[in-house]
């Protein structure tokens, strides 16, 4: 099975295949690049070469990720609607103060920036249900796919297929099904029920946002869990069988503990992704009805870019808040994957 195969070095075939596919444009490109690199090597010696190999990557990454990470803080403490830093007055913690100005944190309508807090609460609801369902369904699917069943490769592929689809495609596929005159309502009517306006009811909109994102990403987590299940040594089960251990006990004492590191990775990864939910739901519901499915990332996008008045400072402050949450989750993730590598 594909999962059991690790990628093997293929010296001979690899070389001939590269020659066959890439042929001359690649050779010309690398040939040209050879000139400066050879000159550098002659000038500065082998010892300096690693730096030149790493440089382009670090330059791109620094320019587009690391530098922005720092500028983000600068934005969050300046005001105005101008994009360029020199035209932005320093306002200190005003943006944060505005974001966190709430009469009662449990009630978004008492907050000055209630859209942000509605986004936060919607994101909490979404994350709670989406991650729970994601882990549950991935686990059940992985357990079933790990059994000796006919057509296992096909079934595994089937569950993986939606993972490849773009968020826009995913959203449009489901929007088409869920429309007032869509096929789901046709089914409801044929069962003698009334059609439901799914995108008019806040509860239904949230339900479908969760459902669709579980549908789209479940295959990914299933794969990780499946890899974990296949790594469990079979002799453990044989030994348990010899001892006549009860099946529930085998599941809770062997399968689950040994799968737990993978489960942790899946839970934290799913959390990190779910907190940043935007694409599918934005196309599916547009955040509506009202603000019922508007999440934190959409708040950042709307505040900074989509609104007539672009409030970059506020968007940056909200990004910092989101960044802190993600940082904590990432530390959890590193801890989880370290446990996995050790276990």
């Amino acid at each position: 099975m594909a999962l059991d195969e690790t990628i093997k070095p293929e010296a001979e075939t690899g070389t001939s295949r590269l020659n066959a596919i890439a042929a001359w444009p690649v050779r010309v490109l690398f040939g040209i690049l050879d000139v400066p690199f050879r000159a550098l090597q002659r000038l500065l010696g082998i010892g300096s070469m690693p730096y030149f190999f790493i440089l382009p990557n670090l330059a791109f990454f620094g320019l587009f990720v690391v530098v922005p990470l720092f500028i983000n803080f600068a934005y969050s403490v300046t005001g105005g609607t101008n994009l360029f830093m020199e035209n932005r007055p320093y306002v200190g913690g005003e943006q944060y103060g505005f974001l966190f100005d709430c009469g009662n944190y449990l009630d978004p309508s008492t907050c000055r920036e209630d859209r942000f807090w509605r986004g936060v609460y919607n994101t909490f609801t979404f994350v709670f249900f989406q991650v729970s369902l994601m882990v549950l369904f991935s686990l059940v699917t992985a357990l079933i796919l790990n059994r000796e069943i006919r057509g296992r490769g096909f079934f595994r592929a089937a569950f993986f297929f939606p993972v490849l689809l773009s968020p826009v495609v995913v959203a449009l596929i489901w929007k088409w099904i869920l429309l007032r005159d869509g096929v789901l309502n046709a089914f409801l009517v044929s069962m003698g029920l009334d059609p439901i306006l799914f995108f008019v009811s806040p509860a239904w909109a949230m339900f479908w946002a969760i459902f669709v994102s579980v549908w789209a990403h479940m295959g990914f987590y299933t794969l990780i869990l499946l890899a974990g299940l296949q790594a469990i040594p079979p002799d453990l089960y044989e030994a348990a069988e010899m001892d006549g251990t009860k099946r529930e006990r085998v599941f809770f004492r062997i399968t689950l503990p040994l799968l737990w590191p993978n489960m942790l990775v899946v839970i934290v990864l799913a959390l990190i992704k779910a907190v940043q939910i935007f694409d599918e739901v934005f196309v599916l519901t547009g955040g509506g009805p009202g603000t019922a499915t508007q999440f934190v990332v959409q708040y950042i996008y709307t505040t900074g870019f989509a609104n007539q008045i672009q409030n970059f400072g506020l968007a940056a402050a909200a990004s910092v808040v989101l960044g802190v949450v993600l940082f904590v989750l990432t530390l959890l993730q590193l801890a989880a994957s370290r446990r996995k590598d050790e276990g």
């Binding site: 293929e10 690693p50 530098v67 922005p68 549908w215 099946r247 085998v250 870019f305 990004s319 994957s337």
Partner: protein, 358 residues
């Protein structure tokens, strides 16, 4: 092997403990197959429904309840009328059934003629007529958006972005991976720590400043704004480096003996040997770029530079959504990934299982 009773007993165990063994049907097997069948229907069904719907005419799409297959009403050229007339199956008052062409409809009465004898007009209550339809594929859903709207441009932009970004990604990431895998140098562990530490910085938390950088570089509303920022991926560096670490050091030493330059060691020896890992990264990069949404949404504001995803989103967000075009273009957008899925699915699943990246 043991007797049947223990076999049954064991297959329950097998479900919960997930191990392989001989086949004997049990309720857990039945449950598994039902679950899988439902799963396959749920995973593929919506996509199949989208594809079927994309071949329907606007009239066919408006039908409720919808038909499974794309059907079109038969039209016939009738003497004395300029345009072809739609054909109906009409139940006459005497209970006989005739095939008539509709001239016009006034309220609940339709004026119809017999196409073979167009002289006489017959008035029929619309409840008594049923359109005559045949299987017909509305190819115009596909051709018209490409001609009339900018979809050919969007498609083109998406192809350019995906190709260019993947090439840049492969080049600079494999170079960095080479540098980190082959050499011992001062600061290497610092760089590796940096790579791992930044593995998880998502674009969502640096939207505003990244937009500033792109603006300062004058790249807003050009495809470079989408191609370059995501090119350096720590995930890619990490994946390639882990793979390059397995390449025997002797090969490189031998090449150095032969006076090969470091650059030629990189591209003549290490790159070809890392091809499997590069292929995995290439597939991922193609998927990332083809499906990219939030960042292009921010930096591409003019219709000429829209990628397919952004164009689709703009098109479906219009007040009067032209679903027949939206559906067809959605199918176009999912063709490349479906091909990737069909031919390279094993590569991807292996890549995910071994690296945990998406």
């Amino acid at each position: 092997m043991a007797g049947t009773s223990t076999m049954n007993d064991r297959s329950v165990t097998r479900f919960l403990t997930a191990r392989r063994g001989g086949a004997s049907m049990h309720w857990t097997d039945v449950f598994s197959y039902i679950y899988l069948a439902l799963g396959v229907a749920l995973m593929f069904g919506p996509v199949v429904w989208l594809a079927l719907s994309s071949f329907k005419t606007p009239a066919g799409l408006q039908e409720f309840p919808p038909t499974l297959l794309p059907l079109g009403q038969i039209e016939r050229q009738v003497e004395g009328y300029d345009d072809p007339l739609p054909m109906f199956e009409v139940t006459m008052e005497d209970g006989s059934v005739r095939e008539l062409a509709q001239v016009r409809r006034i309220g609940i009465i339709a004026q119809m003629v017999d196409p073979d004898d167009p002289g006489e007009t017959i008035k029929v209550p619309i409840a008594n007529r049923k359109p005559i339809r045949e299987f017909r594929v509305a190819w115009e859903n596909y051709t018209k958006p490409l001609e009339r709207f900018n979809f050919l441009t969007y498609l083109n932009n998406s192809v350019i972005v995906t190709t260019a970004a993947t090439l840049v990604t492969l080049l600079i990431n494999s170079m960095a991976a080479f540098g980190l895998a082959i050499y011992e140098f001062r600061g290497r562990s610092a760089v590796m720590l940096f790579v791992i530490g930044t593995l998880m910085i998502p674009i969502t938390i640096i939207l505003v400043p990244a937009y500033l950088v792109v603006t300062q570089l004058g790249m807003v509303n050009s495809l470079w704004a989408v191609i370059l920022p995501g090119a350096a991926t720590p995930t890619g560096v990490f994946l390639l480096r882990q793979y390059m670490l397995t390449i025997p050091r002797d090969l490189i030493e031998a090449a150095r003996m032969d006076k090969a330059s470091e650059w030629s060691i990189y591209w003549r020896i290490v790159l070809p040997l890392s091809l499997p890992a590069i292929a995995v990264l290439a597939i991922f990069s193609v998927m990332w770029r083809w499906n990219d949404f939030l960042w292009p949404l921010i930096v591409l504001n003019r219709s000429e530079v829209y990628t397919l995803q952004i164009g689709l989103n703009a098109f479906q967000g219009e007040l009067d959504v032209q679903w027949h075009y939206v559906l067809a273009m959605t199918v176009v957008a999912l063709i490349p990934v479906t091909l990737v899925f069909a031919f390279l699915q094993r590569f991807i699943t292996t890549g995910i299982a071994s690296s945990g990246m998406k």
